[in-house]
Amino acid sequence: MYSLRPLFWLLLAVAAVQASVLSLQSPRFTILSSSAEQLRSEPLSVTQKPAPLTLGASDALKLTFQVLDKDEGKGVQPHQTFLRFYDEISGEEGIQPVRVTSGGKAKFELNMARPPASIPPTSAGIPLKVELIIGSFVHSPLKVELFELFLPESHPAPQHPDEASFHPLPPIHHTFRPEQKLPPRIISAVSAVLVLAPWVVLVGLWGHIRPSVPYLLSPSILPFIVTLGAFETLLVWYWVDLKLGQVLLYGGILSVFAALAGRQALATKGDLRVGRK
């Protein structure tokens, strides 16, 4: 099955070549003030644009023309007739459909006191290009640049809520919590003395009580005390220097000795206690 597409384009091209041409007859514009006083009225030429038009906030623009089939000279009603208002600088445009009678006569009115929604936002001093676009099934399309129009400044176009994400966002500045500071040295020194003061109290109390440790240095008890001291030394050494694996290893070895020494020491102590009793 052959593709029908090339055939379709061929037929379209043939139709376009044979399509009739549209033309405008007697296009004319009029600018009226709010008191219906005619400020400016000129016929439009499709070949040469007039001087730019200016509308005040209460003025009205009236545009009239007739659409003709060029060959036959008769008025036709095209399928689509649009006025395009285009702001070249900002790229905003508005399309306004124009009603055309069956005889081809068209009339368009733009009243600045009640502007239609199709007018794009305007900025001061920047004109809108006004073009007439006519489309028809049986005629070739027509596009005519009519004139440039200065309108009063309007509110700017509303910004899309996602607009910001299409531009580079502002750089992120991270703020960090300020470093915690140590208190002044004097306070630290005084506090250190205060915290170590209970040791003085302890030594004083023990000095007052004078507990008796008669068997501390006897050979059965001393090894246990020594291993306890060794444990504490090992822990301080760990705090200063050792790693976890090392301290656990040494502690494990030492605990064997501590268990043996402790067993003997406490058994002796127990005998002494029971013997005394």
């Binding site: 915690q180 109390l205 008796s212 504490e232 406490l266 058994a267």
Partner: protein, 132 residues
């Protein structure tokens, strides 16, 4: 003593605001005297240690609250060491006290001391770990 008799009567509001009435003063004195007389020197040694631990913990806590809690891990390590050691020592004292022999039949004082020593070493290990 003279003041003793009227102190036994119901107190009025005005006199109750005085901190040390003769009656409470006497109570404290007799308590202290009883403690001194009845407690063995061994138990007093342990009690002194307990007092020391309490003081140490309180002072560290006051420092943390009043001055600064930086570095926090150091405070936690120090405070936890006093609290943990206090718990171990208090349990040792109650187990070793001859007056409590009926409560702790299965635990000999030697066993109690061995537990105390082991617990203290483990506590010190964790404290040094956290001290940083």
């Amino acid at each position: 003593m003279g003041p003793k008799a009227p102190a036994k009567q119901p107190q009025q509001v005005a006199s109750q605001s005085i901190p040390a009435t003769p009656a409470s003063q006497n109570a404290l004195d007799s308590l202290w005297k009883a403690y001194n007389d009845t407690t063995s020197s061994r138990l007093k040694t342990v009690d002194a240690f307990l007092v020391f631990l309490m003081l140490s913990g309180v002072i560290q806590f006051l420092y943390c609250v009043l001055v600064t809690n930086f570095p926090f891990n150091a405070f936690l390590a120090g405070f936890a060491s006093t609290v943990g050691q206090f718990v171990l020592t208090a349990s040792l004292r109650s187990q070793v006290n001859p007056a409590n022999r009926a409560e702790f039949k299965e635990v000999s004082p030697e066993r109690a001391f061995a537990d105390f020593a082991m617990g203290s070493i483990v506590l010190h290990f964790f404290v040094f770990n956290f001290l940083g």
